[in-house]
């Protein structure tokens, strides 16, 4: 076999990322960070069911982390950026890889979730931007009170249009995770006849938990369970 020269760390990284495998591994690793964040975010928000004081104290605690909060935000931002960059480049490769489409194409094994990753992804991104403007910075909120998270959530979700967008986007997020969680393991090379069926179950359970948990917030406000 001929020689491959990888003289520096940069060359090594470039060689890795240049390949279709490297880009997918970047998607998987950044995706796993985002998956864990989504779970933590949802569990934290569950405190809305324990009343205004509990939720606002939790928010104040997070704000009080100061530099720590910004470190987490920067890591998340980097993950989102890399996840989107590799997704975009892979999507372009996909378009390039089959220039002439099939007249007739059937699928045998592909799930709806797997087929729609390139749709659910960008819609969830649009939602995240709206979500940040809505509840974090307040520009997209009709009655934003800094520090009073409980009030912001109730007032925000009282608008059925806003709530509907949250519900739709979180169902799409759940669909994204339905394929994504298992896919992460497969991409980084974890596949074993003993564990893969369980990882697929984990993926489905993860999607259902995140989906139901997140959709419950706007529904609870709209139905008056939380007020």
């Amino acid at each position: 076999m001929g020689t491959i020269a990888l003289n520096s760390g940069l060359e090594r990284t470039a060689f890795f990322y240049q390949s279709v495998v490297g880009k997918k591994v970047v998607m998987a690793v950044t995706g796993s960070v985002l998956c864990l964040f989504v779970l933590g975010h949802m569990l934290g928000n569950m405190q809305i069911y324990q009343g205004a004081e509990k939720l606002n104290n939790y928010a104040a605690f997070l704000q009080g982390l100061g530099a720590g909060l910004w470190a987490v935000r920067l890591v998340l931002l980097a993950c989102v950026g890399l996840h989107i960059l590799s997704a975009y480049q892979l999507w372009r490769l996909k378009l390039d890889a089959r220039p002439t489409p099939y007249v007739k194409k059937a699928t045998v094994a592909t799930t709806y979730a797997a087929r729609t990753m390139t749709w659910s992804g960008p819609i969830v991104l649009a939602f995240i931007i709206y979500h940040l403007l809505h509840f974090t910075t307040g520009q997209a909120h009709p009655d934003f009170r800094r520090g009073d998270v409980y009030h912001n959530v109730i007032a925000g979700f009282s608008n059925p249009a806003a709530s509907l967008f949250y519900i739709v986007a979180n169902i799409l997020l759940a669909i994204h995770l339905y394929h994504g969680v298992w896919s992460m393991f497969q991409t980084v090379g974890v596949n074993h006849p003993r564990y893969t069926p369980w990882l697929k179950r984990l993926s489905k359970a993860y999607a259902w938990v995140i989906g139901i948990g997140n959709v419950s917030f706007p529904l609870a406000v709209l139905t008056g369970i939380v007020k």
Binding site: R12, V20, V21, R98, K104, T107, Q186
Partner: protein, 257 residues
């Protein structure tokens, strides 16, 4: 039985193609799919028309020459079979079928249902082999091989290189084909010494040839006529990542090996 065929006709790689409809009235249910096309071609030849070009060789499902799409599925609706081993009894009288070539940038259509799969040969040439001096056969038990590894290597070696995985993949990825070779050789002690370089060179070549990437849909595994598993793709990802991370230059002072 009667079969209605819509077949992709394309004169050569530079001209555009289109679906052409044929009706075949005298199909025997015991014919293989290719024998049915032979009958069509004889009819076309008699009429002075150009026969339909399709690749075939062994007609017993082991050479990897044949293969095209039947109603959007490579090798047709039956699982675990190539198109030459698919029989007309699996279709019903009067059924309408759409036949078109495997589609991928890396598999340009040569004519009708025939595509150029030499990209696969170039990927194999990049690293899908073991550099070993041939000579007299070694003593059979001189290199112990774990049974489970031999089994997995054998399963991966079942790949006949037909290209159906690329055709079925929504991203036209060759991952199943490439990973089958990486797993087949990498799992055996004879292939172990070149495992890292093999993964790097084959993955890079697959990328260069214009194949897409793997989105873990499992479509390739489902339609593979030889049942090659996407477990191999996980192994390819693992081997490639490890190889790039741990790659070392050969030592100049390492001798004249």
């Amino acid at each position: 039985m009667k079969i209605i065929l819509n077949i992709w006709r394309q004169k050569n790689s530079s001209s555009p193609g289109k679906m052409v409809r044929y009706e075949l009235g005298n199909v025997n249910e015991h014919m293989s799919f290719l024998e049915m096309l032979d009958v069509l071609n004889e009819e076309l030849t008699r009429k002075g028309e150009e026969p339909v070009t399709f690749e075939h060789d062994c007609r017993e499902g082991i050479c990897g020459s044949c293969g095209f799409m039947i109603n959007g599925i490579p090798h047709g609706p039956e699982r675990g079979t190539t198109v030459c081993q698919l029989h007309m009894r699996h279709f019903h009288d009067g059924e309408e079928l759409w036949l078109e070539p495997f589609r991928a940038k890396a598999f340009p259509v040569l004519k009708d249902l025939m595509v150029d799969r030499s990209a696969f040969d170039r990927i194999i040439a990049a690293g899908g082999y073991i550099s070993i001096n041939t000579g007299s056969a070694p003593e059979a038990n001189s290199i112990p091989v774990k049974k489970q590894c031999a089994d997995r290597a054998m399963d991966a070696a079942a790949c006949i290189g037909c290209g159906a995985c690329v055709a079925a993949c929504p991203n036209a990825s060759a991952s199943l084909f490439v990973s089958a070779k990486i797993a087949h050789l990498g799992l055996l002690p004879q292939g172990e010494p070149e495992r890292d370089r093999r993964a790097m060179r084959m993955v890079l070549k697959m990328t260069e040839e214009g194949f897409g990437y793997c989105t873990n849909t499992g479509e390739c595994e489902a339609i593979c006529p030889k049942g090659v598993k996407i477990e191999n793709i996980a192994m390819m990802h693992r081997d490639f990542t490890r190889a790039v991370a741990l790659f070392r230059e050969e030592s100049k002072a390492g001798g004249a090996g």
